[in-house]
């Protein structure tokens, strides 16, 4: 079965979403992963956006979280104050899984989406937090999409935009953040999780044709690879749903 890397990444992330999750998504591949999960393995998941749209039908893939396509056929069209309150809410927040992306990540899953170099005189400026810091602060678990490159998996972030496990097992508690935190990372080479005790990133799966050593060669820090298994390629059914139902115009899949 032929498939592209992007299709595999999308499916790998979609498999992390559980039936009954409230799924917060951003733009691009994260939205597609949420759509794939809902159509394949998590029919009772509810997709929602920071802009306030809840349970959008998504007949066409939106290109931004404010796209009119997220407003059509929803259960509720709310606003930003509501959307973020849903995540900070002590009853609903723990049921939310947030899908994120970033320019840099460290071994504790902290994310930088603000600037490379000195914040006060940046070499490269990015969009900034948007809702990412809020999601990472509040929700039960997060899944992060990353490109697997040395300059992106770094020892020390240039700027901490969104909190992961901060500096280790007690980091969030010390800072005063709610429980919850990063659950997994999906890249163009692998899937990773965070150790229950140390909260450090470790390799959970490598994509077909990729070795754990290649993965390590593309990271700025060491991770445990002893628990990793090969990631199952997308099934014919997963691909069919993804291609025909989620992104028939291949706006995100390319």
């Amino acid at each position: 079965m032929d498939y592209t890397l992007k299709e595999l990444m999308t499916i790998a992330a979609a498999r992390e979403i559980r039936d009954g999750d409230i799924v917060f998504c951003g733009t691009g591949i994260s939205m597609l992963a949420a759509m794939a999960a809902k159509n394949i393995s998590a029919p009772n998941s509810v997709i929602f956006f920071e802009t306030g749209a809840i349970d959008s039908l998504l007949e066409e893939v939106p290109l931004a979280v404010s796209d009119s396509r997220v407003m059509f056929w929803t259960s509720v069209n709310g606003n930003l104050a509501d959307a973020f309150a849903t995540m900070q809410n002590r009853i609903t927040g723990p049921h939310v899984v947030g899908i994120m992306g970033a320019a840099q990540i460290d071994k504790y899953g902290n994310l930088n989406s603000t600037a490379i170099g000195d914040y006060f005189s940046p070499k490269v400026r990015f969009s900034g937090s948007g809702g990412a810091c809020d999601v990472a602060s509040f929700v039960g678990r997060t899944i992060t999409f990353m490109q697997h490159e040395k300059r992106k998996f770094v020892q020390k972030l240039d700027y901490i935009t969104s909190p992961g496990w901060l500096d280790g097992p007690d980091g969030r508690k010390k800072a005063g953040l709610p429980d919850g935190g990063p659950a997994s990372v999906v890249t163009n080479m692998a899937t990773m999780g965070f150790d229950e005790t140390t909260k450090e990133m470790f390799l959970t799966g490598f994509f077909p044709g990729i070795t754990p050593q290649q993965i390590l060669d593309n990271m700025g820090f060491e991770i445990d690879v002893s628990r990793a298994k090969e990631v199952a390629p997308p099934t014919a059914y997963e691909l069919q749903i993804l291609r025909e139902k989620c992104d028939p115009q291949r706006l995100i899949l390319g």
């Binding site: 733009t27 691009g28 920071e50 802009t51 306030g52 007949e59 066409e60 939106p62 290109l63 931004a64 979280v65 404010s66 796209d67 009119s68 396509r69 997220v70 407003m71 059509f72 056929w73 069209n77 709310g78 606003n79 930003l80 104050a81 973020f84 900070q88 002590r90 603000t114 600037a115 914040y119 006060f120 005189s121 940046p122 070499k123 490269v124 400026r125 990015f126 969009s127 900034g128 937090s129 948007g130 809702g131 810091c133 809020d134 602060s137 509040f138 700027y159 901490i160 935009t161 969104s162 909190p163 901060l166 980091g171 969030r172 800072a175 005063g176 953040l177 709610p178 115009q249 706006l251």
Partner: protein, 325 residues
Amino acid sequence: MKICNDKTMSLKEAVQKYVAAGCHMSIGGFTVSRNPMAAVYEIIRQGINNIHLYAHSNGQGVDELIGAGCVSRLEIAYAGSGRFAPTCIRFKKAVQSGDIVVEDYSNYQMTLRFLAGAMGVPFLPTRSSLGTDIMEKWGFSAKMRAADPRLPDQKLTVMENPFGSWGDAPKLVLVPAINCDVTLIHAQKADREGTVRMEGLVFSDIEQVKSAQHVIVTCEELVEPDDLKANPDQNQIPSFCVDAVVHVPGGAYPTACYRYYDYDPGYLNEYRRYAEDDMLYKKYLEEFIHGLKDHQALLDKAGKDRLDTIRADQRTGYAVGLDRR
């Protein structure tokens, strides 16, 4: 705020009256949706500069104001235009070159700041950003803040929960209220008195409106007060919050206006090409803004065929099957 039974005026007049050099201004909408673009272009045309701009997540409006040199300081959570420009290009250039000073917050924090302003309280609490550089790094230095009476002395501050273990949140981040001189929004419907009805997502437009000294509303349709009163639960903004009502069909173009038109992928892609090059961008400003009399001229330049392709479908509120590559 203003109490008057007819606030309609031209966009030129509204901008002359309520937007001044050095003012504190916020714009509504979100990334590529319902940005008050006609008003943004009019501000650029009038050459108003040194604006202190506030937004939560904004794309096209923020980028064009920065690109045209209207902005000196920016408080924002996110500057991007979805897939068309994941990071706004003129914003990126201006921050990297030091042409504007930026203060970063999260989206919820910006929303809470507008809400605090709308509620008349000096700050609101949240658990967001504990342990991050949003707390640690201040784009506006303590010195700059102390010297400017329009800025709070601190970007934000942390407090212990004064109710002890109540609510199970040991620490809270307090974010300061925003009260702008003027907020600009684009809505689907308004009446001459200033009552506003938005359709689809309202983003944080209501908080942005209610926290501002003055408000300019541009609208797709100017309707009779009785038309809005017939279904009052669909209206969001009471007339007294609004100072100017301007009828500008297509006023969010090239961003989307739910149930009226989609964003224009052609324009946004073309804009990106202009924005990436300083010389080309000068040409863009001349050809698409300064060289045009008003927003209608921009719509005429786009042409009927192009506008037909982005016209919203009645069932969905967007242009079904639009080529968005």
